[in-house]
């Protein structure tokens, strides 16, 4: 009879205790898979929202534009740049920005005019899918605009209402025109919610008297497996006269929160698993102490200390392996359920945003390799650490004392 078979029988011997131990480990593993998946989901959706609504993955500006967004600080020849980007496996869209005053009835507000290229913008962001009321821009309604949610409230406008825009055109003259609200956006992030004012690039040029040049190029990678930092370096080399930044630099806060999410998951794992460690420690200590005599006899007839140590470890490994398999079997569908259905938080929060980033009111889990592996691997490690003391206890038993132990 080998060690593994003996260990298996010992696990089976006190079946209730083993079941409780395995159950506790399974439960913790399962919950942690769910938790890790929910956290992944939260942060992925945050990332997606922030990146997919507005920022994209990389942006190109004229150096200094971000500090002082001036109407005249323009990128010229953007078509060439965009086709060069396309040749490098990237999709890009040009944007125009300007500041103006919007007025409707007795309300008015400062707005950030966003002149977008309708076709290209939809390839780099998903803002067009986030219309709450009315519809997105189209080529036919030249005077149609889409507003951020809070801005619409400030201006007390609804879909179909008219707006007056007043600003300073490129030539210094007064720019003003009448626009019609085509759509109002969902909450997508503080910046856009409060000041987002989307219009066609052609309308923007007409209003502001800007014949050529753009202010920003938004870029996404076609192949997401390419390292973003690598891409940034490459593009910086291709366009040395412009400022090329990736989203980590553009939104350092988001990048930091996402980095913290890793730590967050591990801290939570650690805390939950301390309880598991206690259960394992307690169970294995009990099982060692009630077998002191047996171990004494085993030592007396020639079993070495390391063999007893391995026996205790093998018994624990058997239990933790069963728990890992069960946690996988039950945890995966559990997390999957929450990935499909999510947790509806609309009752508690609506249009919640944090640091200018929008959160989805439906909190969905996101099963990733890490959200499954991290809880399971940590579970095994914790159990192996917890059983160290009982295993040493068994290994250092003195046969004489153990045999006469009561």
């Amino acid at each position: 009879m080998n060690l593994i078979a003996l260990a298996a029988r010992n696990v089976n011997r006190n079946r209730h205790r083993s079941l409780v131990t395995i159950g506790a480990m399974t439960f913790a593993g399962m919950i942690m898979i769910l938790y890790a998946s929910l956290m992944e989901g939260l942060f992925l959706s945050t990332e997606r929202n922030a990146l997919a609504m507005n920022i994209g993955e990389l942006q190109i500006h004229v150096k200094g534009y971000r500090d002082d967004p001036d109407l005249y600080t323009k990128i010229e020849g953007s078509e060439k740049i965009i086709s060069k980007l396309a040749a490098n496996g990237m999709t890009a869209s040009p944007r125009l920005f300007g500041f103006a005053l919007a007025a409707a009835g007795i309300s008015s507000a400062g707005v950030q005019l966003r002149g977008i290229n309708l076709e290209l913008e939809s390839k780099v962001t998903r803002i067009h899918e986030h219309v709450y009321k009315g519809e997105w821009l189209n080529r036919v309604d030249m005077k149609g605009v889409v507003l951020g949610r809070k801005l619409a409230r400030t201006l007390s406008v609804n879909v179909g209402d008219e707006l007056v825009i007043v600003g300073q055109a490129a030539d210094g003259s007064m720019a003003n025109d009448l626009f019609q609200v085509k759509g109002i956006l969902k909450g997508v992030g503080e910046e856009i919610d409060r000041g987002g004012f989307y219009m066609l690039d052609t309308s923007f040029r007409e209003l502001m008297g800007l014949t050529n040049g753009i202010h920003e190029i938004v870029i996404v990678r076609d192949d997401k497996t390419v390292e973003i930092e690598q891409v940034t370096d490459k593009l910086s080399a291709i366009f040395p006269h412009y400022e090329v930044l990736n989203w980590r630099k553009l939104q350092p806060l988001i990048a930091e929160i996402l980095d913290l999410s890793d730590i967050n998951i591990y801290i939570m794992l650690f805390i939950t698993y301390i309880a598991v460690a206690m259960v394992v420690l307690n169970a294995m200590l009990m099982s060692v102490f009630e077998r002191i005599r047996e171990f004494g006899v085993m030592r007396a007839i020639g079993v070495g200390p390391w063999q007893l140590f391995s026996l205790i470890y093998t018994e624990t490994l058997i239990q933790v392996c069963i728990a890992v398999v069960l946690a996988f079997i039950f945890g995966l569908p559990l997390a999957w359920y929450f990935q499909l259905n999510g947790i509806d938080l609309t009752q508690f929060i609506s249009g919640m945003s944090f640091g200018g980033i929008a959160f989805d009111p439906i909190w969905r889990a996101e099963l990733t390799q890490r959200s499954v592996m991290a809880p399971l691997v940590t579970l095994v490690l914790i159990a192996l650490v917890a059983v160290l003391y009982p295993a040493i206890k068994a290994a250092v038993i003195q046969p004489v004392k153990a045999i006469h132990y009561r």
């Binding site: 009879m1 029988r9 011997r13 006899v297 070495g304 200390p305 004489v400």
Partner: protein, 240 residues
């Protein structure tokens, strides 16, 4: 531990030799001399009993011979080994390869069958399963457990369990079997049967035995009877 070093060498007359062995236990403030300056030799092939009142030091002597306990002074020799010179793991190997232990009770590993218990030490020695089989079946037959190979300890009587322990002790062909009150927990008929068995193994297979006992029947059958009192040898008589 290499097997060939420990063959039952008839050239070694004494399997066990104790030279002025003492064992002192500290019981709180009190010093207890469990074994007090005992010198003793045990011949190959002997069937020897240690007797004496409770607390006279029988178990302590057996434990020191088996390398389970260390003398406070004096030396214990087993075959050619001075046990004090051996490391823990070397002692474990000596116990595994050269000594058969039979304790008063609870000798067996509860989750193993009679067969697996009897086979256990052989497997520890690294004997392949296929080679074990024949030997184990033969020994179990010899100790009268034919047909009970698949019973777990809790499915056997105390006497049957002791038989398994004896089978386990002798299946490895040890230099000596150390048995600490092997008959104390069984009824007298069973005790007689166990003694018959051990006597037979001694006479037919030449296995050396050293018992500790209170049991008059064991003493009656012993070829040599050593009486201990207060840790000292009170008398040492050869019989028959």
């Amino acid at each position: 531990m290499a097997g060939e070093v420990h063959t039952n060498n008839p050239a070694i007359k004494d399997i066990v030799r104790l030279e002025s062995v003492s064992k002192v236990y500290q019981q709180g403030q009190l010093e207890v001399r469990a074994v007090d300056n005992v010198s003793l030799e045990i011949d190959t092939g002997d069937f020897c009993a240690l007797c004496g009142p409770s607390g006279s030091g029988k178990t302590t002597v057996l434990n020191m011979i088996g390398g389970l306990d260390v003398p406070s002074s004096g030396q214990v020799w087993l075959e050619n080994h001075n046990l004090a010179r051996l490391s823990r793991s070397e002692l474990a190997s000596i116990r595994r390869d050269r000594i058969g232990f039979v304790f008063q009770a609870y000798n067996l590993i509860p989750v193993m069958t009679a067969y697996e218990n009897a086979e256990f030490v052989l497997r520890l020695q690294g004997v392949p399963e296929s080679e074990c089989h024949e030997q184990v079946m033969m020994i179990l037959d010899e100790v009268g457990l034919k047909g009970m190979e698949h019973r777990r300890p809790d499915e056997m009587s105390g006497g049957q369990q002791q038989r398994v322990a004896i089978a386990r002790a002798i299946v490895t062909r040890p230099a000596i079997v150390l048995a600490d009150e092997p008959t104390a927990n069984v009824d007298s008929a069973t005790a007689d049967a166990l003694l018959d068995l051990m006597q037979k193994l001694n006479q037919e297979d030449g296995v050396s035995f050293l018992f500790s006992t209170h049991d008059q029947r064991v003493m009656d059958r012993a070829r040599r009877l050593i009486r201990l009192r207060d840790g000292r040898i009170e008398s040492d008589e050869a019989r028959r």
